[in-house]
Amino acid sequence: MKKNILLVTAAAGALFLGACKKQLLETTYSVLTPSNFYQTAADAQSAINGVLSALQPQAYYQRTIYIITECPADCLAPILTQNQERIDMYKIQYNAANPEITNWWQNSYKLISRANDVIANVPKINMDVNARNNILGNAYFLRGMAYFDLVRSFGDVPLLTKPITSPGDSTLFPKRTAAATIYQQAISDLKFAEANCFSEPNIAVANKGMVSNGAASAMLARVFLQRAKSPYADGGDNQAALDECNKVINSNVYSLMPNYGDVFSCDNKYYSVTGGNKEVIFAVQFGDNSSSTTQNITCRMFSPALLGGSGSFVANTNFVNNGYPVYDTMRHNWNIGTKVNGSAVTPFIYKYRDAKWVANSNNSRVNWIVLRYADVLLMQSEAMNNLNPNDPGKFAGIDKVQQRAKIPLANQYSFVNVPTADNFVDSLLKERQRELCVEGHRRWDLIRLGRYQQIESSIGMTLPDSRLLLPLPQTELDANKNLTQNTGY
C-alpha cells in the first residue's frame, strides 16, 4: 500500500514533468510570432505598412535625410551653436563617430530587413496574385531605394536579401559587397517593382501613399543617371534613364501642379484622376496631430523662433544671395523666408509649411517628397544631354519646369543661353537647386554632375576626394569585425 502510494506519486511526478514540455512553450498575446502572422491578405498589407513605417523616424526620412544630403552642400546650413554632428556634416568634417551617419546606415538596413521579411514571407500567403505582387513590388522598391542610398553614400556595402532569423545566421556578420553588385541589386529590385506595383490610378483610394509602378520607373531613372557617372557605369545607363523618364512622362498619369507651392500642400497630398496632387510620385507620409501617427519635425527644425520653430537649420547664405535670379520670384518666395510678420529674421527654408502645425511642437503633417514629376522632367533633360548634347529636345523638360515657375521666356533655357554641354550641366544644376532645393538631392546632384568640390570651395569648405564617400559608422565596425573602413577615415 505504502509502496504503491510512493510509486503512484513518483509516476505522477514523471508524467507531470513530461507534460510540461508543451506547457513551457510560450503563448503570446500582445505580440505576433511567425506561427500566427503572414496568414492573410490583411497580414500582407500590415507587413508592407510596417516597411513603409521604417521610413518615418527622425533619424531617417524625417530629418537625417537632409542632414546627410543637404547639410554638406549649398542650400541648407545648421545653426552653428548646437548639434556638433550637423555642423561636422556641413563643414565636411564628418567622421565615423558621426551619429547622423550612423542613423543613415542603421535605418537603411532596418528598412531593408523589413523588406526582406516581406519578400521572404508574403509569397506563401494564399491571396489574390496581383494584390500580392503589388505588395511584394512595394517591398522590392523600398529595398532597391535603400540599397541605392547606401551605395551612393558608402560605396561597397553588405548585401542582405534574406531576413536573419537566429544569432547563428551566417549573414549576421557580413562582409562588404562590391558597389557594382549593389547597383545591380537596386536595379533588379526596382525592375521587379516596376513590373508588379499598381499604376497610380489603380492604387485603391485607401492605399494612396503606397508605391506605384511610376515611382519605380522614376527611381530607376535616378539610379541609372547616378550610375552612369560612377565608376560602375554601364554603357546603356543614360539611354536606360531616358527610357524610364519617358515611361513616366508618356504614361500621362502625372503632371506639374500649376502653382509651385501647391506641390507641398498638406491639404492636397494625394493623386486623384479628377484632380488631387498629380505631381508627387512618391512621398514619405506623415500624419496629423491627434491621430496617434508619426508627424514631421521638419517645420519646427526650419522655422525661426518667431514662427514657433527651433530654427535649428537656416538657408545657406550662398543660396540666399545667389540662388534665385530676380525673375524667379515664385520659387524664391516659396522656398526662402526672410521675414516673419514684418520682422526680419535669419533667412530660412520656408518650403515646408503646414497651417495646422502647432507652434513649438514636432507635429506637422508635411510629407517628405522622394520623387516628383518636375524631377522626372529635369532627369529627362539631363539624360538627353548626356546622350546627345546637340539634341534640341533636351530643353523640353527643363522648359516645362521653368514655365511653371513663371520664368520669362527669354530666361528659359535654350541653345541661345546654354550653348554647350558643359554650360548645360551648370545651368541644370542651378535649375535643380531652384526647383528641388532641400528635397534631399543636392549632394548627389553635385557628385553626379561633377561640381561638388567646386561648389564646396565656393562656400569656403574643403572637400578631399575621400569625402565623396561617407565613413562606415564606428559602431558598425565595432560590432562587425568583417567590415573595413573607407579610405581616408
Partner: protein, 1022 residues
Amino acid sequence: MLMRKMLFVLGMLIFLGQSLHAQERTITGKVISSDNAPVAGATVSVRSSSGKGESVAASADGTYRVRVPNTGSYTLIISAVGYDNLEVPSSAVGAGSTYTATLKGNAKGLNEVVVVGYGTAKKKDLTGAVATVSLTNSDQTPVLGATQLLEGTVAGVQVTQYNSQPGAAFSVRIRGTNSISYSSDPLYVLDGYAGADLTGLNATDIQSIDILKDASAAAIYGSRGANGVVLITTKKGVAGKPAVSFDMYTGEQQVARRLKMMNGTQFATYLNQIATFNNTAKPYTDAQIAKIGAGTDWQKAIYRTAPMSNYFINVSGGSDNNHYYLSANYFDQQGVLINTGYKRGTVRFNMDSKISDKVRAGINSAVTYAWTARSDVNSNGGSTSGTILNALRFNPALPIRDSAGNFTFQDGPLPYTDQMGNPVAQATQNTDRQYDIRTLLNAFVEYEIIPGLRLRSTIGGELYNGREEIFKPTTSYLAPAGQAQVNTNNNYNYLNENTITFDKTMGIHAINVVAGWTYQLWKNKSANASATSLSSNAYGTDNLSVGSASSVTSNTNKNNLASGLMRVNYRLMDKYIFTFNMRADGSSRFGVNKKWGYFPSGAFAWRASDEKFIQNISAISELKVRLSYGLTGNQEIPDYLSLPQYSTNTYYLDGARVVGISPNNIANADLAWEQTASTDAGIDLGLFNNTLQFTGDYYNKKTTKLLYTVSLPSTSGFTTMIQNIGAVRNQGFEFAITSTNINKKGLRWTTTVNFSRNLNKILSLGSVPYQYTGNVSTSLFPSGGQASAILKVGQPFGSFYGYKFLGIWQSADEIAKSGTKQAVKPGDPHYADLNADGQVNASDRMIIGHALPKFTAGFSSDLRVGAFNLYVLIQGVYGDNILNENKIEMENGTTGDNKFAYVATDSWVPGAVNNNRLPIVTSTVRRGLGVTSDIMEDGSYARLKTVTLSYDVPLPKLTGGVFKKATVYITGQNLLTLTHYSGYDPEVNSYGNSNGNYSSLNTDYNPYPNVRSYMAGIKLGF
C-alpha cells in the same frame, strides 16, 4: 462587500474548527523561564506508553492546557526556542490538575527550528549560510514594509530605501549585485509560496524571517535562487482559549533635512550679479530688492509634518486539532509632501487542522487593499515636471499666489529665469492615485504515509488588481493642456507544490530527504488610456473622452515554471553533516533549446564542538564549520525574449492611420538563465556558554551567462540582442556577533553587530571591453547623450564615469599658459584633459566614483531593566559615492534657477584669491560637459535608525488577569544621520529600478526626502 463575505466565511471556518475529545484528564499550567517570565509559544507535548499524545503550544502568557492519560505513566515534554528541553515524568506532575514548568535558558538556541526551502531544519543541522532575522523588537518598531525589518540587522544583506515616498518599495541586495541588466532582488517566499509579493504584508503578522544566502541553502530554489531567498513565515494560532491582542501606534513624521536655498533677496541679488557679469540690464532695481525680503520658502510651502498611525487586532487560538490566527490591520501614513500618502488595510487568516491521525490540512491567506497618493518626484526635469524639483528651483522672490489669488506660474523676471510650473499648484492640483487589491491564498494538505514519511501538497494563488489614475488639470501649468490617464493591471499567478519528506534515524545515521515537483504560472494583463488637451477639468480621470488627443495601449503576457527538486541531508553521529540539493527548472521564458536548467549544490558541516577534544575546552560551547558549493540561477527577464516577435507600428495612407506589423527582434533559441556558482566557507562559534556568538562567512560568487544586451551589426535590421554573455564576481565576507553582556534577574543586555564587505567585479561583457550605462537627465545636460556610468571589465558595477574636476581657472594667464583649446574664462571649472589634446571632450572621461559601498554595518542593543526595555539600532554604509545631479541646477550650470544658499557666498568672483571650489555663477561649462567629479559626493553615513523605549505596564496584576499583557512604548526613527552628504539623504537613487533600469545607482535628482518620525504605541493582550 467582498471583505464582508470573506469575514463571514472565515468566521464559519473557525466555528467549525472547534471540536472536543474525552477519556482523559486535563492539566493546565504555565511555562515560565528561570527569571519567572512567561514563555510564550512553548510546546508542551505528551508521550505515553501508548505512543505520542497531544501536543499544544503555550499562549502568549505562557499558560497551557494539555490532556494526559487518566491511567498509566506519561511524560510531559516542554520545549521552546532558546531554552533547553524539559522532560517531566508523570510522577513529578502528580495527581493535581496544574503544573508550572520552569525552562532553563539556552542562549545558543541550537534546537531552534529554521525555515529552509520546502521544510524546516534544526539550526544545528544546517550546512548552508542561513540567517535568521531577530524579531525580538520588531513588534515595537514601526516599519513601512516587511523588508525594512532586514535593514541593518542581517550580515550580508543591504536594504536601501531608494524612494521615501509613502508606499514605495525597498531595494534588497543579498551579497551584492549579480545581474547587470535585470533584477538582483532576492526571491521572497511567504509561508512556502515562492515569488510572493510582500507589498501588502503586515509586519506584525510575521513569525519569522530566514534568509538563505549561499548556494547550499538557495539552490533548492534553482533558477530563482541566485540573488538569495527570503523566507517569511506568518503567525499561527496555538491551542487554548482565544487570545486577543490589540496594538496601535501613532505619531508624526518630518522631513529629516531640508536643503538651504537662497531666499528672495539673495536670489534677486544673484540674478543681478549674473546680469552684471554678462553686461546686461539688471532684472531688479535696488528698490525692488529691498521690498522682497525673504520671499517664499517653497520647501516650507510643500512640506508638512505628517501623521502616521497603525492599528492591529488579532484573535488566535484553537483546539487540540485546529488552530487559527485571524488579524486585521489598518495603516495610514500621510506623506511629508502635501497630497501624498499611503493607506493599507490587511486581513489575514491562517488555520491548520488535524483531520485524522495521518492527515493535516490548512490555509494561509491574506487580503490587502492599498491606496497610494503619489507626487511627481525623481522627475527628469524640464519645464513642466517635478514638484520637489520646482520647489527647489522656483524663484523665491515670487509669492505663491498673485494679488488676484491665482497661482504664480511664470517665475520671472524673464528672460533671466526659466519658465516653469508653480510647485504648490502642482502639489495641490495634480493627483496620482494608485488603488491596489492583493489576495494571497495558499492551502496545504499533509499525509503521513508511515512515521517519518510525509506527503505534502499545496495549491495557492495570488491575485493582484491595480489601478492608477493620474490627473493634471489645465490649471497646473503654464501651457494649459491638461492630462488624464488611467492605467490598470490585472495579474495573477498560481502555484502547486507536491513534496515527499522522509526522516529516519538509524543509530549514528540520520537522514532527511525532501523530493518533489512544483508548477507555477503567472499571467499579467494591463491596459492604459490617456487623454490630453482636456476641454474640462470637471471629470478628473472619470471621462477621458473630454480630451482631444488620447492614446490607448493594452498588453497581456504569461510565463510558467515547472520544477523538480530534491534535498538529501545526511548526519553522521550528529557531527558530520552532508547536504545535497538538486533542482531542475523548466521555464517558458527561455529558448526552445534551453528550457530546462539544473541547479545542484553540495555542502558539508562539521560540528566540532561535539568532538571530545573541543568539549574539553570549556570556553567553547559551540563550534561548527561549514563549506558549500553550488549553482543557482536568475530567470527574471521579460517574457518572450527568445521568440521571434512581430510588433505593431503605424503608417499613414490616404490621410488616415494604418497599422503596420514588423519584426521586433532576432530569435534566440539558446536564451537561458543567468548562472551563479557560489562557494561559501563559514564558521559558527559560541563562547562562554554561548553568551558570545559569532557567525562569519567568506563567499565567492561568480555569475556567468549574464543576460546582457549585446550590440549587433545593424545590417541585421537590429542594433541589439539579449544574449547570455558576460560574467560578474561578488566576493566578500560578513560576520555577526551576538553578545549577551548581562543576564541577571530583571536585567538583561544583549548587543549584536553585523558587518558585510562585498567586492563586485565585472569579469566579462562578451566581446566588448566596456559599455556606457546609467541615466542622466537630458534637461540637465542639453548636449545630452552621455551616460553617467561605465560597465567595464575589471571594474565594479556602478562605476561613475565623467570628467575630473581640477579646480577653478583663476586667471586668463593661467588659461593661456595651460595651452588649452577649450573655450574657458577665468572662473570656469577646470576639468582634466586626460589625453592632453587641448580639448576636453568625451574621450577625457574617467571613473570618478563608485556607487557600491566598501562595507555596510549594523549595531543593535537591547537592554531590559525590570519592566523597561530600551532598543537601539544603528546602521551604516561606508565608502560609496553619490552623483548629486541637483547641483547642476542648484549650484552651477543653469543660471536661471534658484540656488543653494552657499552659492551666493562661495562662488568664484573676479579677484578672488584661491577660491577653487565653485565656478563663477555665469559659468555653463559644467552643464555643457556632462557628469563631472565636482557633483560627486561621499555617500557614507551612520544612522541612528531606531530608538525604542518600552514599559510593561503591570496591568495583568492590577486587573486580575483580564489583561495578559500591556506594553506602552515610544519610538523614534532616523533620529540622527552622520554624513558628509549634502543632499536630502544619502540613501537615495532617483532612477531606482524603474523602467527596467538596473544600472543607474546612487543618483540623486529631486528625490522624495527621507523622514524622521516619532511614534507612541500600546500593545494589549487579552
